[in-house]
């Protein structure tokens, strides 16, 4: 049972297409696992479409008024170029075949995982192992924002840490616990710099993570790990 969902702000950003790819991928994977969020996104998308294409609906939505303030411009007359464009497009009789629903699978520590479709065309680095933690970084080229697949082997834990920026964790497989409770596949967890946590897993887990900075370990001995924080996230 999924208990943690993306904020309505993230769902709206996903519907408009304005989130960075890494975060949009997280929301997309969650929506594939959560019918309710998918339904919310569908409804938002229909509203946005109306708002963008339909000049009569002028009432701006709270989260959207900055992007689509288009009502002030009149409809441009049909361009001459458009006639040529129509001719060029319709001259080609090609039909786009539906892309096959294929899946990518990965093996971490001898265990096989099927990856969700939004990760199909994302390049991944080799797995880096530190004790029970294994991590592969995804090459999305988004500057400070880094996304990873993180696997924690059974009975493993991430030392108590905090985040300088934001961190999104989407649990793909298995389960983990922290002082706030137990998380299950599909749970979408947003954390910020104000929160300390120490995730542990009994059965092992695979997560998709997005963060805009390294984690800071906050407790005693583990502070020694701080230099490797950036390796983990």
């Amino acid at each position: 049972m999924i208990k943690h969902h993306p904020s309505s702000k993230l769902l709206a950003g996903y519907a408009t297409g304005e989130l960075p790819a890494s975060i949009a991928i997280g929301v997309a994977i969650h929506c594939k696992m959560c019918d309710q969020c998918q339904a919310n996104v569908d409804a938002l998308t229909a509203q946005l479409a109306d708002q963008v294409f339909d000049a009569e609906l002028t009432e701006p939505m709270a989260y959207e008024n900055e992007q689509f303030d288009l009502a002030s411009e009149a409809e441009a007359p049909m361009d001459m170029d458009f006639g040529n464009m129509i001719a060029a497009i319709t001259a080609d009789d090609e039909i786009s075949e539906q892309s096959m629903v294929r899946s990518t699978s990965i093996t971490v520590k001898g265990k096989n995982f099927e990856l969700p479709a939004p990760l199909n065309n994302v390049r991944m680095s080799n797995w880096l192992n530190i004790g029970k933690l294994s991590r592969s970084s995804l090459n999305l080229d988004e500057g400070a924002i880094h996304s990873h697949l993180l696997h924690i082997d059974a009975d493993g834990e991430v030392p108590t840490h905090t985040h300088k920026g934001f961190e999104i964790t989407l649990l793909l497989d298995g389960s983990f616990e922290d002082d706030m409770g137990t998380y299950h596949p599909g749970d979408f967890i947003e954390l910020n710099g104000e929160h300390n946590h120490q995730p542990k897993t009994k059965e092992g887990c695979l997560c998709y993570t997005v963060a805009d900075d390294a984690l800071q370990f906050t407790e005693g001995f583990h502070k020694l790990f701080n230099p490797i924080g950036s390796l983990l996230y």
Binding site: H4, L10, A21, D50, E75, F82, I86, F166, E194
Partner: protein, 217 residues
């Protein structure tokens, strides 16, 4: 919600992508218009018959709007033109994936446009040329993976898939593959051009192939 994300981080990333566009045209009064209900029929006509007139009508309604929206988002008039071309090309090629029961034509075209804009903005900002949008927002109708074929001949399942096709595609497929009519014979019987028969069959076969292919994976 127990966790509260510091919104400013995501906000700041978003704001970069939505810098206000410069207005290139003088402001005039807004023409009030709402989406005509025929749009979805035009889309279906493009899907079923490759109807160029229907496409021209779709273009007349969507084209200028897409150009304006895209030019503003990318802050570049030429990009607005390119995005209109790419979006409308996808509309022409993917119209058969539009499912009227699932939503309005405007919603469907909006998602096509949003994906084209997303890929274009990513291409501008990163060194990567991969299109991720169709993975992130699966625009194609989702194929159910729950009923893998049990029998080798797939006759029953194929029959069910055929029943889900638009009536004119079903008719063409049945006539040619079951009743063994030639394209020309069927065209004559229905009093339509041979090209239309061929494109209906092609659309039908494409759709069946996709569904069977996905199930066989």
């Amino acid at each position: 919600m127990r966790y509260v994300m510091k919104q400013s981080t995501v906000e700041s990333t978003r704001n970069k992508t939505i810098a206000p566009a410069t207005k290139t045209r003088p402001m005039t009064t807004t023409a009030k218009e709402s989406a005509p209900p025929e749009l979805s029929q035009y889309l279906m006509a493009v899907a079923a018959d490759r109807d160029k007139q229907a496409f021209a009508k779709l273009f007349a309604w969507f084209g200028p709007k897409i150009k304006r929206i895209a030019a503003q988002k990318l802050n570049n008039d030429a990009a607005g033109f390119d995005i209109t071309q790419e979006t409308m090309t996808r509309v022409w090629r993917k119209a058969h994936l539009f499912v009227p029961e699932k939503g309005a034509a405007t919603t469907w075209v909006y998602t096509v446009m949003r994906n084209v804009i997303f890929d274009a903005m990513r291409k501008n900002k990163t060194q990567q040329a991969e299109s991720l949008s169709d993975d992130i927002w699966p625009i194609e109708e989702q194929i159910s993976e729950e009923s893998p074929f049990q029998d080798h001949l797939m006759t029953k399942q194929l029959g069910e898939l055929v029943k889900k096709l638009p009536p004119n595609q079903q008719e063409a497929l049945t006539a040619v593959y079951y009743k063994q009519l030639t394209h020309e014979e069927l065209a004559k019987q229905l009093n339509i051009p041979v090209g239309t028969v061929k494109s209906r069959i092609r659309l039908a076969v494409t759709k069946l192939k996709q569904q069977l292919g996905a199930n066989n994976d």
